[in-house]
Symmetry: C2
Subunit: 347 residues, 2 copies
């Protein structure tokens, strides 16, 4: 049964699990007596103390001061999460609730907002979802609208009628009909193709000798290149930040401020989320592991979400390190799947 990691006796494992469990519930250091009761086994506090001493020696728990109970360390959580966490799949009622909620939303943007609200609502922590990447959206059509001598408005319609506007500045002036021809040309050859592929093709064409290209094609390709080059700056949506104020470990106004500043700045959080994009499944940062000081007492559980096997973005939950990982992980996991599915339906 227990494919126990090297040399941690079964009993110690169970105790670590119990301690983490209890600490998750009330955030107080757990003492030997409490743990004895918690554990249910017929063991005296003294025995528990011996094992706790071992766990402390291994660096899995520590006590804030001599006469306090023990608290899991980051290493303790890491071990717990990596080797002795067993996650049940989310119960079907919850899944149905999420699916229903998501099914009400129409646009990807709304879906993403709804997903982050769900994450925060269900976990009582902060939910975060990156906007779906457009990198692998399908090219549907493009239109060019001349606005002034040197400015052209490009409208790119992708996949499920997602629209993006780009303002282009051109050296020479293009007539409306020229632009019309260009867009017709592009729409014809690229419709239904993957945006990344379209871009690759464009680059290739621009490299090749231009002699055998007529004026119209030149225009078309140059403009399309401009449209595609400005990679949509990544962004994310957040909900339930204020839930984090409920946890005593974050009630310190100074920590709180650092945290909220990070949320507003977005840059650091985005960077962290980026790291999770290609993690192929649940990713967990515990406390200081993230490398960002403002997340010191926090953990982040993320999962990428994808459509048709293509990863579109990441979603997750940010909460105190003592969060109930076994509860949060299935929620994040399910939400990622369901968001992917919901995006797929609209597509």
């Amino acid at each position: 049964m227990s494919d126990s990691k090297p040399d941690l006796p079964d009993r110690a494992q169970r105790m670590l699990r119990s301690l983490i469990d209890r600490y998750a519930r009330d955030g107080q250091p757990v003492g030997s007596r409490t743990l004895a009761r918690e554990l249910g086994l017929e063991l005296s506090p003294a025995t528990i103390r011996n094992v706790m001493s071992d766990l402390e020696a291994l660096g899995f728990i520590s006590s804030p001061h001599t006469s306090a109970g023990r608290v899991p360390t980051v290493q303790g959580y890491r071990f717990f999460v990596d080797t002795l966490l067993n996650v049940q799949p989310l119960d079907s009622r919850s899944i149905e609730k999420i699916r229903l909620e998501l099914s009400l939303e129409q646009t990807p943007k709304h879906l993403v907002e709804s997903a982050s609200a769900l994450l925060s609502g269900i976990t009582h922590m902060a939910g975060v979802v990156t906007l779906p990447s457009h990198e692998h959206a399908l090219f549907k059509r493009v239109e060019f609208i001349p606005l002034s001598e040197s400015r052209v408005l490009a409208i790119l319609v992708t996949g499920e009628d997602e629209v993006q506007n780009r303002m282009l500045t051109t050296e020479k002036q293009h007539s409306a009909s020229e632009l019309q021809q260009a867009s017709n040309y592009l729409n014809e050859i690229f419709a239904g193709k993957d945006l990344a592929e379209v871009r690759a093709t464009l680059l290739r064409e621009m490299q090749e000798t231009r002699s055998n290209m007529n004026n119209m094609m030149m225009t078309a390709i140059q403009m399309a290149d401009q449209v595609l080059e400005s990679k949509q700056s990544e962004d994310f949506v957040m909900a339930g930040q204020t839930n984090l104020m409920e946890f005593q470990e974050l009630c310190d106004i100074d920590k709180l401020r650092k945290l909220f500043d990070a949320f507003n700045q977005k840059r650091d959080i985005l960077h962290l989320l980026d790291q999770c994009v290609h993690s192929e499944g649940i990713q967990i940062f515990i406390g200081e592991e993230s490398g960002y000081q403002m997340l010191d007492e926090c953990s982040m559980v993320t999962a990428p979400y994808s459509v048709d096997g293509q990863i579109m973005g990441v979603l997750g939950v940010i909460g105190p390190t003592r969060m109930a990982y076994n509860r949060v992980i299935p929620i994040v996991d399910a939400t990622a799947r369901l968001l992917g599915a919901a995006l797929n339906h609209k597509e």
Copy 2:
């Protein structure tokens, strides 16, 4: 000199002003001795006490408990702001700094963000700016792009090349050329007109007998109506929320949470800002005056900003009730003007 409000002796006024001033600085109740020193006049604390007693009777100040100093009440602030506040215009260096900062931004959206960052940065409180209303933007052109049987993408370009997308659903299917004709027609007759005016005209046309209208015109008008009807939901941009955590009176985690929830929800704040749109100048809500509980210990100073005499939106500052109004008001005022001017230049 002093156009003193009925029956408040000059000296009492000066004392109230001093007290408010001092309280703004360190947030502690002000006692008679402190005030005596603060005031500079050669008056003994006992005298001060007598006058303070009068001010308390008038409801302008109150003491948290017997042996504490006095604190201005909401009525006290109201009186102060209404009748004995003299605001100097903002010094020209600060003005230049704001102007410069705003001049770097290109789009209205960026301008608004920059303005709110400036407000929060200069005042060390929270800055808030509503997005400019499009109600009176100028119609530049509209394009219709058919996407599927019943879905048409409408692109509305206004004023200084601001672009809005709308997805329309139509009963009957329109061909590309039909749509082209419709947009040509609309662009021809409405170019350069005020959006509100355009909408009014459209409504009128729809009322009139439709017999003398050809198919194309019908299409055009119906579609245009759809484009314009969905009034852009108002929104605002905020910056420096976390500055508010610095003030002890807001360090209570519970108050803080209510406040930040309100910021995230946006609805209530938006409603408040709405009330300020047509106030023709600086508007100040002090503490509970706003009617919203979460702003109990807070005040809000706002000013509408306008372009060519048309009010485009509101901006302001949210901070603790004890903020230095005489410093904040000129900042809000100047920023409103400068934002208006900056928007004008881009237009």
